[in-house]
Amino acid sequence: MKAAAFDYEKPADVAAAVKLLSGAQGMGKVIAGGQSLGPMLNLRLAQPQLLVDVRGIAEMCAVTETPEALTIGACVTHARIEDGKLPDATRGLLPAVAADIAYRAVRNRGTLGGSLAHADPAADWVNTLALLDAVAILQGPAGRRELKVTEFMHGPFATALAEDELLVAVRIARLSKAARWGYYKFCRKTGEFAEAIGAMLVDPERKVCRAVVGATTSVPHVVADARAIAERFMPDEALKAVEAAGLGDDPYERQMHFAALKRAAARMHGGGS
């Protein structure tokens, strides 16, 4: 249960971090909160030669807002979001999701960017950011690029990040006052990763009506036009979404994901659990 040996650097800016990663030629790894990487190092599932600690990079801890969007640095912790320390651009969605990630001791160190980069299909930010159609901002030796979170996610624990690329921040379009959302997850124990996640967002002013079937075996399944699930919950349409997410074969899995969607819809419409 002890990590294999590695070197450690704590660069002061993004450019220096990218340089360190490039120099490590594939044997380097970013560490942010260490709340997913720490367990993997201790179990020796990951054995990098160099850890590049990005928590000291001011730009990656920053939060900026414009009338249209909120940009959240990758190193912003779950706890900071839970405590409402960010401007509320999502009508309470981000703090509500943050509060139910793991446990406070984990939330105090775990980061939004670390969670997204780790790309666990059952992770809360992975699915929430897909619901919000957020944009990931990456920086590597060739400069910056932006990708929708849905394009950033390639599969379970797989993303568009190159070995020497950093996730610098995530940009979320501001929801309108009329926006409503619902989020529901099934966990076997409080604070554990979800077995199934259902999420939906209706924002008529921005013509958004999306749903996510989350905690799949791969990337979040986004229903871009979810009127038949979100505006009015039509069971057949919800089941179709679960099946399209590749979760139709196992009756238990199918029912869990169906129920998660149903409860997310109920929450959005202000009823039930």
Binding site: F6, G34, G38, N42, Y103, N108, R109, T190
Partner: protein
């Protein structure tokens, strides 16, 4: 692989040490600082036995590496003798039989203290949610929950009276 020299506050004292980057904070405290009050259970963030305070907030010391704590202020259970909240919690843990073997207790107390200070209005359901990251193999949790409720109630009474 090279070592790193770190300087941090441990229980109010400045400590400078050369550490291998792979050394986690719990091992650093137990083996190098001889502060064995921090317990180690799972070493992957799940059980909560190693929970202590870093820069004023609870954290898992098994998945936090000592090298990442350069400049940080760490408080272990040994540093809470004179802490008023911890004194109330200790008395309540005894009164409510909130421990048997005591293995989970340092982590439980770190979490309990955070609940008392951060969530003074917490009801039983909230206490149980907040405690879900600390496993206890002995007590069945009832005594632990009662102990925290007792401290919260006593503190509420005190603020009402004042």
């Amino acid at each position: 692989m090279s070592t790193r020299t770190i300087t941090l506050q441990v229980n109010g004292k400045t400590v400078t040490a050369a550490v291998e980057p792979r050394l986690h904070l719990a091992d650093f405290l137990r083996d190098r600082q001889l502060l064995t009050g921090t317990h180690i259970g799972c070493e992957h963030g799940v059980c909560g036995a190693c929970t202590l305070e870093i820069d004023g907030a609870p954290a898992r010391s098994c998945i936090t590496y000592a090298a990442t704590c350069d400049g940080a202020s760490v408080r272990t259970i040994e540093d809470f003798d004179a802490d008023p909240v911890m004194a109330e919690l200790r008395a309540a843990f005894s009164a409510e039989h909130a421990l048997q073997c005591g293995y989970c207790t340092p982590g439980m107390l770190a979490t309990a203290r955070d609940i008392v200070l951060r969530l003074p209005q917490a009801d039983e359901a909230r206490i149980r949610k907040e405690l879900s990251g600390n496993l206890c193999r002995c007590t069945g949790y009832v005594g632990i929950v009662r102990a925290i409720k007792r401290v919260l109630a006593a503190r509420k009474e005190k603020t009402h009276a004042a």
